[in-house]
């Protein structure tokens, strides 16, 4: 069993069109590096200097990692990671 990672539409160009890919367990930032090994370019789209970009939300099993241990949140086999761009829209 591995970690399942859900890829948002704007990043699927980098994952050969796949909506979901797999990664080895580890911290969130380990997973970003792992994905970048196979899908070059994904790391710099969602992170900058080892930090997840501000307008990218990452959820581990539906919980926002900012309220876990951020980039250092541990992800175990069987967990689901979702990458969701924050929509810079809305009201005033």
């Amino acid at each position: 069993m591995a970690v399942k990672v859900r890829i948002p539409t704007p990043l699927q160009k980098l994952t050969e069109g796949k909506e979901e890919v797999e990664s080895a367990a580890g911290t969130v930032i380990d997973i970003v590096k792992d994905l970048d090994g196979r899908y070059a370019g994904i790391a710099e789209r969602i992170s900058d200097g080892g930090k997840i970009r501000r307008f990218v939300n990452i959820y581990v099993n539906e919980e926002d990692i900012r309220f876990l241990k951020a980039e250092q949140t541990t992800v175990n086999d069987g967990d689901i990671v979702s990458i969701v761009p924050a929509i810079a829209g809305g009201c005033l």
Partner: protein, 410 residues
Amino acid sequence: MGFVEGLKCRECGREYKIAPIYVCEFCFGPLEAVYDYKKIKKSLNRKKILQREKNLWRYKELLPIDGEPQVGLNSGFTPLVETKNLARELGVKSLFVKDDTVVHPTLSFKDRVVAVALTKAKEFGFDTVACASTGNLAHSVSAHGAKAGLKRFIFIPATLEASKITAALIYEPNLIAVDGNYDDVNRLCSEIANKYKWAFVNINIRPFYAEGSKTLGFEIIEQLGWNAPDNVVVPCASGSLLTKVWKSFKEFHEIGIIKKLETKVFAAQAQGCNPIAAALKSHTDVIRPMKPHTIAKSLAIGNPADGYYAVKVVQETGGCGGEVTDQEIIDGIKLLARTEGIFAETAGGVTVAVTKKLIENGSIGKNDTTVICVTGNGLKTQEALTGNMLKAHYIPPKMDAFEEVLLKIK
């Protein structure tokens, strides 16, 4: 020709040509208009502004349009009311209300942003405008769009109060009432915006739309005799208004319209929806999203898009956040009406009540000049006051009945 050079990502700095886009395709950050301030400095000065019509377009060089203004030619330039009674009641010397309860044509500051958004939509060649809204924005897009001859699609949560639905429907837009809350409506609109070539004012036109808020700040400075106040208190939903008011002050400073800028910016929120105030209180810039529960519905955004930037502005200027309960909001609305004769919507109650607290706890000094932003009209949110009002004296049409009441009043 305009003074905007292009759009730029606020996060990674990537630059884009002027287009109806709003998000950086590389890092997903928000895009913002970039101006040529050197050119503006040569072109715009106090004298030129003073010669122009009293509407929000008197600062047009600092707004993101290319041609002449086309929409909202009577919007803006609302009164800056110097309060005497309210100032006395709160124990301060100099307190002003920027009174956007009377913006033309739909009585909220949204008429400013929509004036800019629809002018830009026309420049882009759109024939249809749209928005997701819980009230004020729906009214403004419906009304401004009617006069501008644009097709309108207005998306609202189906649970919206009947009076707010009427105030939009009268302008005969296509009103779509969605079974869900504001966040659901917004999500649906993002999908629709991807599929249909419409100008969604708060989605693909957002970088232009949001700039319209700056006019509130330009007016404050002009109306204070070309001075920035010591403090400004701004209500926060997404945090955009607060960041744009500060931006307007900085721009006037940058182009030399004012020499001194030492304003502290304060963020006002309801306790039932306080993600920005909560972040400020715990000295962090991480916004924790929440489920709103407050009578101040126009401020009920649990996951504020500009929350991070609003927090930064408040911290950078030495201000702070403040939050108030629903009862304090109602008391704030009543206080403003009773002392200054201004009937604000619930967001205005938040601003007044937070200001009261900031004065009481010493964050706002008694000898400072303070401006509070009251952004919408109370006639729109009357239901919030149910059970909190004085009662009328009901009498038969007889003199003795009246005099009996008069005795009681005395």
